[in-house]
Amino acid sequence: MHFRRRLLVGSLAFVALALICVIVAVAATAPVACPAGPWARASAALQPPSREMLAGTDDIGRSVMCTTLYGLRTSLGIGVAAGAVTLFLGIVVGAVAGFVGGWSDLLLMRVAEVAHTIPRLFLAILVAALFEPRMIGLVLVLGLTSWGMLARIARAEAMALSAREFVLAASALGLSTVGLLLRHILPNLYRPLLATAGPTIAGAIVTEAALSYVGLGDPDSASLGRLIATAYPFMESAWWMSATPVAALVALTLAFMLLAEVPNAR
């Protein structure tokens, strides 16, 4: 009874996890399915989907399926990289602030608030104006602006923990408290972790798509955002060029957005 209920309630979460697994598996096959890389020309341009070219060809004659697969890898990489930066900063800063307390706590939380307040796309646009549009800039911008919420939660956990006896004892004995702290607060953080990771990764992917559309994306990268932007002029004449990467982007974003639902599976 309980088990079935859990599956039903957590069904959205299940969808999310399943999607992610499928996406990662598919993205991993890119080098196998398309050994020539994302830029290689395969056939005549603007061919509709056929048996040889499942998703047709784009305006330069590349297989849309191949470019999308590689794009999936790139976008996934961007999202995960940004997410990793966010998670790392959030947990570390929050734990330090909560445990150490005092001035550093105040300062770190103010920094967290600033990081959280900064409008991400605008910062990315500023960075593009100063440093020329590059993917590393975007990843850093996104990673460095999304950790505020997580830090707050990590801080609370750290504070609650630091008052407990075994930590005080360890500290008195001169043992490494940081590792202890992390080991104990991490299990409690899995919910906010997922709740944060999901939107952060989804946000990274979506922001990159927006940048590519307005012309500030990294022209050197083969991300889904760039693919959709270059397919945009052909939206009516070659729908498969847009539809395929959009479908991939939707699946990717959806998967990570629904990740936040996982904690709701009780």
């Binding site: 309630v9 103010r110 608030e113 100063l130 939107p199 989804a202 982007l249 959806l254």
Partner: protein
């Protein structure tokens, strides 16, 4: 979704008796914190500009092309001095609301931004209201159905729609509602062939705003909806709700009288926190629908490497986010001073 955490270092809860004065103090503190935040953002911006290739003074003030003006600017800006002095000078200018001169427009950045701000606000405000209202209604309506197939399918479909890139969504809206059905115009904010005024002009602007606002609202509303739904699910098992149901109230009444008042403030804060995302959406929507607002301005400024203008708009956007958060805090305090927990801030 995690609740806002009550910080351990919070000040005393305010008693109702001294509400008005305490409210002012609380607001004052928020405003001060907000200013501090903006100052930190400005500092971050300065560090970025210093780190970028190129002469910071030229980047921040803008080369006027006029050697005399440039020399004067360099002197007052102090490019021959250390970074600290330059920084102090820049902050002082910001405090005077002097954002420098735009390279591509050859006009003061603040004037250029103010020219374009109304269009963006006209776009964002209705979108904000529309998306939050829809999310609130749907969020409460889908909670009891959260476990059924219909509820989950609806959420899935909505999430799919919101994951589609905003400009693709906008373009599809144009194709469907403007081209095929002809209900709304697809670009600009007014009809170039006629000049209406007064009430007619307002109605016309609303027609032109319909599709861009709908696109922007669509891109926001799912996240708001999911948040509200998650909060509602969390609250549902609480005892006070069970008591209300036990007392014989209908589901709707329970939600309206007991559930909603408890989650609406958290929702308000969440909406305010989404301000940055709303601004980002405005950037894309303005480009698709040909609306001359701040979003499109920052893009063309960035493409032109017009650093003073981009910096000015960035600071403006950050300020808008801070103001939105302060407004949310102000409303919170107004509704229930007990909830002023001091350390809440914008998170």
């Amino acid at each position: 979704m995690a609740r806002p955490i009550r910080g351990a270092g919070s000040s005393q809860a305010v008693t109702r008796g001294t509400a008005p004065r305490a409210t002012l103090i609380a607001l004052g503190r928020r405003a001060a914190l907000g200013l501090f935040t903006i100052w930190l953002v400005a500092t971050v911006t300065f560090v970025l500009v210093m780190a970028a290739p190129g002469d910071p003074a030229a980047l921040l003030i803008g080369e006027d092309g006029d050697a005399q003006v440039q020399a004067h600017a360099a002197q007052s800006f102090g490019t021959d001095r250390s970074a600290i002095v330059q920084y102090a000078g820049w902050i002082a200018r910001l405090a005077r609301l002097d954002l420098g001169t735009s390279i591509s427009y050859r006009a003061p950045v603040s004037a250029v931004i103010l020219e374009r701000l109304p269009a963006t606000i006209a776009l964002m405000l209705p979108a904000l209201l529309l998306s939050s209202a829809t999310a609130a209604i749907l969020g409460l309506a889908t909670v009891p159905r959260g476990e059924s197939l219909n509820g989950r399918a609806a959420i899935l479909m909505a999430a799919i729609v919101s994951a589609v890139p905003i400009y693709v969504l906008g373009h599809l809206f144009i194709l469907m509602f403007s081209l095929k059905l002809g209900w709304f115009p697809m670009q600009g904010l007014s009809d170039p062939r006629s000049s209406l005024s007064g009430l007619l002009a307002v109605v016309e602007t609303m027609r032109y705003l319909a599709l861009p606002t709908a696109t922007l609202a669509m891109s926001q509303f799912v996240v708001l909806w999911l948040f509200l739904r998650a909060r509602a699910i969390e609250e549902i098992s609480s005892s006070y709700l069970r008591t209300a149901r036990a007392k014989g109230l209908t589901l709707a009444q329970t939600y309206r009288r007991h559930l909603w008042p408890n989650i609406r403030l958290g929702f308000l804060h969440f909406v305010a926190a989404r301000m940055g995302s709303l601004l980002a959406g405005a950037v894309v929507v303005e480009s698709v629908f040909g609306i001359a607002g701040m979003g499109r301005l920052v893009v063309s400024a960035s493409l032109a490497r017009d650093v003073p203008l981009v910096t000015g708009i960035f600071l403006m956007a950050a300020t808008m986010v801070v103001v939105a958060n302060i407004a949310a805090d102000a409303l919170t305090i107004f509704f229930d001073p007990r909830l002023d927990e001091g350390e809440r801030g914008a998170l």
